[in-house]
Amino acid sequence: MKLNCELIAKVLENFIRDELSKAGFSRVVVGLSGGIDSAVACFLATRALGAENVRAVLMPYRASSKESLIDASSVVNQLRIKSETIEITSIVDGYFSTQPEANSLRRGNGMARARMIVLFDKSMQYRALVLGTSNKTELLLGYGTLYGDMASAINPIGDLYKTDIYHLAEFLGVPKAILKKKPTADLWAGQSDEAELGFTYAEVDELLYELIDNRVSREQLIQRGFKEDFIHKVIAKIQSSQFKRRGPVICKVSPRTVTHDFHYLRDWGL
């Protein structure tokens, strides 16, 4: 799973500059969590646009770990980007105080969507596009909140596996504390991505790379030593989360339907 970090950083920086300037923007806002994905997104954006054009928004909930805020601040300080902190506690608690039976999954989704509300409002306020921070592993496994952390205008890291993000983070000089800590969505205390998923990113990325990028057959993968139930579990996750990777389904009744046969890129005329 080697990655040419210098090449990929250059292409992603060009991507951010090109897609932004074509759409008439020069700035981005990034939800900076203290985790590695949003840190890498901030580093790439700063290299592409200059620190003055990157605004990090830190959006802690009352139960968020203090460590997350410290790590996020270390990125802000190192890159000298603009930042602001917006607590989402009142938005989240305002709604969930009326929903006492809501479990942690519902509440977690609510927090992710509250952050989306803030980011897209900041997008309007600063005429800045929301930079996405979902990686390819999350997108394939559906490990993200639809219309929450999956929402963005452009996403520079969506075709990189979590393992790639680590390599790239090291290349870009992301603070060591962020590189070393365990990945977490930090939606509740002690949450861990890998514990929740039931496998490590290193394991699943190797499988996904062979399965998706190289289109290796299941039989071949078993021969290569991947456990059959692990393969099935991962494929089931990909399949059951397909709805998150597509827009809403529209019933086709007219000759040309927006989601069926109206084929134009977003970059149309840009």
């Binding site: 799973m1 080697k2 990655l3 040419n4 090449l7 990929i8 250059k10 292409v11 060009n14 991507f15 090109d18 897609e19 074509k22 452009i154 046969d261 109206f262 084929h263 134009y264 890129l265 977003r266 970059d267 149309w268 005329g269 840009l270």
Partner: protein
Amino acid sequence: MKYTVALAQISPKLGTLSDNLNLHLHGIERARSAGANLIVFPELSLTGYILQDLVPDIAIDPNTSPLLQPLLNLCQDIACVFGFVEVSDRFNYYNAAAYAAQGKIQHIHRKLYLPTYGMFDEMRFFAMGENLRTFSSSFGDMGILICEDLWHPSTAYLHAQDGAQAVITISSSPGRGVRHGELFQTSEGWTHLLRTTAQYFTIYNIYVNRVGFEDGAHFPGGSMVVSPAGEIVAQAKYFEEDFVVTEIDLEEVRRARLFAPMLRDERLELTLRELTRIINKRNAAR
């Protein structure tokens, strides 16, 4: 004979003919002041690449379109190869390339192989070209290919057998694969292909790929000229717009064919006989 070619590695704007026409006019002026005799733009240079449903809206009938006139007017003492969508009188749409000189379009190549797999969907929107022809120019006999065409070795083979001393390939080839080597795997593939076909068929390969992004699809550039000995004579940068001017010396074609006379020794009847046999065998198996 020697001539000077300019490789215009541009980033066309998707579906906006007037802006792209301006890119062409500026490019031609720049090539003229650099002393170039020929300027080559990438595939679909007048329109952008992932056109989809825009195809019928930006298609041009090159015989009647007033839009091309300013470009053709500039092609008096310089020749130009550019890409556009051609609409035929049967309302077929072609991914096409034109060779313009002396104020007129002298030759049109319609893309023969339309990639329709993976990220590509060309056959959905375009009709396939049916002919592969060389043409005479002030710079000797030439052939034009568009992107995927060159990945079918029969195209460069036929052009060379038909007399081309230089083959111009224009492309909008997206970069994919970053796990091995210093470049995108697709860029490495192009280099191998251009060097190999140039050397095998003892022709100049003139290659222009675009740069820029379309909805995150990335075009890495890397335009180049390869000599009939398979050596890279000039190369544009990867990942950014570039404008490379280089000399082509047809004496190199003569010398390459002296040292490696494969073109002379090629047995067309043998090839044709065996192709006929293979076609018959396949038909019999149906």
